[in-house]
Symmetry: C2
Amino acid sequence: MIKEMITRRSTRSYNGKPVDKELVMQLLEAARLAPSGKNTQPWNFIVVTDPATKEKIAVADHNQMWMVDAPVHIVCVADIKRRNPDIGQVVVDENAAYPELKAVIRDTAVAIQHILLMAEHLGLASCWTGWYAQDDMRPILGIPNDQYVVGVVTIGHTDDPPKAQTRRDLEDMVRYEKW
Amino acid sequence: MIKEMITRRSTRSYNGKPVDKELVMQLLEAARLAPSGKNTQPWNFIVVTDPATKEKIAVADHNQMWMVDAPVHIVCVADIKRRNPDIGQVVVDENAAYPELKAVIRDTAVAIQHILLMAEHLGLASCWTGWYAQDDMRPILGIPNDQYVVGVVTIGHTDDPPKAQTRRDLEDMVRYEKW
């Protein structure tokens, strides 16, 4: 097994220790290497360290104020135009029906998981959060309405790693040859 | 860096060597460990080895007949009802607008990426394919219309690993503090 898949946790408790910028760049490099449909790489990342901005993000993200204690937020954004450059002026949000939006959310999710696994590899604590509305999150960072925020990942150090979450049994999720 | 992120490739050329069932179970165990929103684990997997079924899948998947040479297909399915048990009878496809569908596609994509990284870890070749319509793929396997096939992953061995794809520069995808 890849050990980071076993040991990674969603950490919502951070101590004050800062995160070296070089480590953040290694997280982003991991995201950069993710595969994507037609190799479109439809993702962009905003690295946020400003406390006032982190507070606004935490408020938009369902008042999860623990997020402010994480020294770094990585805001992970899917760009529908990388999948369909001719789509024109569109507004994408939770209720949008565009097929291309599903594709770029899918691809950006893969890149985000590379960040989480790499964080674990580097001894950093992280949490993928997504409890916000696009219309609340985007204005905080000036993100255009044709961009979809797939997640805000908190990065930091913890003194209090959470226990593993339970998982469904393999027998419950695997079928053979047909549904 | 996690080396599997660097060395993983999308392999579309398989030799005839079979895949040990125990290795397939290790791939599925990696998927099982993936994180998901609210820990809903909204995924199911169908392991397909039957040549006739693989051929039907390949035809539905844009006539990618190379897929038939892979000894194993893992059909990866997102279940919207695990996110919203009260959603009732719905049909989900590429044009569906349900917010919950976006969430379960996102989560299942993460589980699929665990499969791809774990395949690389085990020395297996793999490719995530997704060039099909839900309405063409689902009937082949008897998948209900409220399930979304996020990908069909081919698994096998190769004598001809492809070269790495190009990637956008990090500078092109990373911003600081705001969009």
